[in-house]
Symmetry: C2
Subunit: 349 residues, 2 copies
């Protein structure tokens, strides 16, 4: 080997070794606050996940007949074709009413500590019971859901297969459990997981710089764990409260759940997986640009004004949280019968 080649090879090797070592150091730091997605579906509380239950849950998730009008399914506002949300500030529901808060993505939501922006549901089964009954969303009742399901023999069979030990398995609780089981499968492994698991090539230099900033600036105080958020409650506007154009005064967040003054304008930290697929941002859905959202967070939560480059780098890092969607075969739903309750678009006063 010629000396020049040798020297070149040596310096390449040195740089590579340095990069590897820097990567390793950053990875150790990241590992203190983040965790990669597990490779299997997590265990659910009193709800064993079986293939039959997943299939039933998928049918229910996509079935618009779970709403009073027959217009809305879970998938309407948590659309699996568009990042698991509905791409609008707040959802439009029954009677063309607007919901109060931005629809969060269903993807990876099983890893959130609690559900909804204010964490008022302990898990996805409890969550699933909410929108179906909300007057501004699906406007249905548990009784009417159960009557609808019981009217279709195919659904009754699917419930029997999903809850084999129960004499009367078609219940509103089991409806929610089946949806929870399906949603628990909606997990999207991302480049950041590959990197956390040791693949140095999964993130490029700009993304790594963004990750380092994310750790260094303190974003991780609220956005950490498997979902890079979704596991703690924090006041929006810790350092500087944003204006009503971003933080409407009428929505006091977790205060409505706990009725504790400390919880005014407190929200669950948003989980950040697939965040670049789910504009607009914040509980109000009033910010469309991810970079702007990052800058607002830095100012309001950390009192930091990011440089343009820093904001770009953090956005580049956030892009590494966008994962591969599981392939979804669109379900064939059971057909109505003479006893299926008729859809109604009527808006109750």
């Amino acid at each position: 080997m010629k000396l020049r080649t040798l020297l070149f090879s040596t310096s390449v090797a040195v740089i590579a070794a340095q990069a590897a070592s820097a990567n390793e150091e950053l990875r150790e730091w990241a590992a203190e606050t983040f965790a990669p997605l597990p490779s299997t579906i997590p265990a659910l509380n009193e709800n064993p996940v079986t293939p039959a239950k997943i299939d039933l849950g998928k049918a229910l998730f996509f079935d618009p007949r779970m709403s009073a009008s027959g217009v809305f399914s879970c998938n309407s506002c948590h659309n699996l074709a568009t990042g698991g949300d509905d791409n609008m500030p707040t959802s439009i529901g029954h009677g063309w009413q607007k919901g109060p808060r931005n629809s969060p993505t269903v993807l990876n939501s099983v890893f959130n500590t609690a559900q909804f922006w204010d964490g008022r549901a302990a898990d996805l089964a409890e969550q699933a019971k909410g929108p179906v009954q909300a007057g501004v969303e699906m406007a249905n009742t548990p009784d009417n859901v159960v009557a609808t399901l019981n009217s279709m023999p195919q659904y009754v069979d699917w419930f029997k297969a999903s809850f084999p030990d129960e004499a009367d398995p078609v219940t509103f609780d089991n409806f929610a459990k089946a949806i929870e089981a399906y949603e628990a499968t909606l997990i999207t492994p991302a480049p950041f997981d590959a990197w956390l698991n040791g693949d140095d090539n999964a993130l490029n230099a700009e993304q790594l710089a963004g990750l380092e900033l994310f750790l260094d600036k303190g974003c991780t105080t609220c956005h950490n764990g498997v979902n890079i958020g979704g596991n703690g409650y924090f006041p929006f506007g810790l350092i500087e409260k944003p204006g009503a154009d971003i933080l409407p005064e009428g929505d006091k967040g977790r205060f409505a759940v706990t009725e504790t003054a400390d919880d005014e304008y407190v929200f669950r930290a948003a989980p950040l997986r697939n965040i670049d697929q789910t504009a607009p941002y914040f509980h109000s859905g009033l910010v469309w640009d991810l970079k702007v959202a990052v800058q607002i967070m830095a100012e309001s939560q950390l009192g930091e004004e990011l440089t343009d480059q820093e904001a770009d780098q953090i956005v580049a890092f956030l892009g590494t949280l966008t994962g591969d969607m599981p392939e979804v075969t669109y379900p064939m739903l059971p057909v109505e019968t003479a006893t299926t309750p008729r859809p109604t678009g009527e808006v109750m006063p």
Copy 2:
């Protein structure tokens, strides 16, 4: 072989031969008026079907951002999970407005002579341009659709791949052509096709009796061809006009298209494939029970009062028109960008 066994075998053989011959006679009669589904996607008018175009059309079909509000996709009212329609009398659209007529199934619609209940669109490409612009449906404009598509690089690439010879392929016309190409794949081979193609076991005795009645009573005057309807215009109430509870006076059908007095209350004969999946029935969507719908048709169009058994047999035959849905992989849609027009639920006066 013992004599008794021989006699038995002979009589079984004779009965089998008689049945086969009866089947053959009925099949010949049926073949004069019906045709099985072709085994390939039909050629479309000035719209060659390619895999790229089918994929693009599927994305567009499922994309709620094609509506002004971001709430409705083609699939909202032509839901592939529920027989290609929406299971309500008339669809609910933009601003919670109700459409004037029952949403017809998209399945096998490529075989209809013209589209809509009054045949006002010559083909599916022309049809696809209607609901997206209708104020009570998707309430969008061609310009806004094109702006939305152009704002997402992934869509632009898909249009280029689908219309490779065009310099500027992202057009409203091509939007419609791609949807037409996708819809042309939504073909559902049914037991009746198998029977028409020679499989004696595809239909049971009751279904065959229903078919014979369907031919004998004259239902085939209007309901014939590949789609058992969908290829001719006929007055609803040829013999006896039903009441306004079924035939609302305000909707004069094809009269609105041709402005010819003869076309008052004239509608395209409903195609009957998958009819038992697509209640409620008629352009008004006011009849939920298929047997009742059959009885109404017999009285109003043929002046025939069917016995209960006859109506059951015809319904049994109609069940043999329900086919196998193509497996649909739910699409992953392109993500919005800063230039994507924002959704608006606003209702224009």
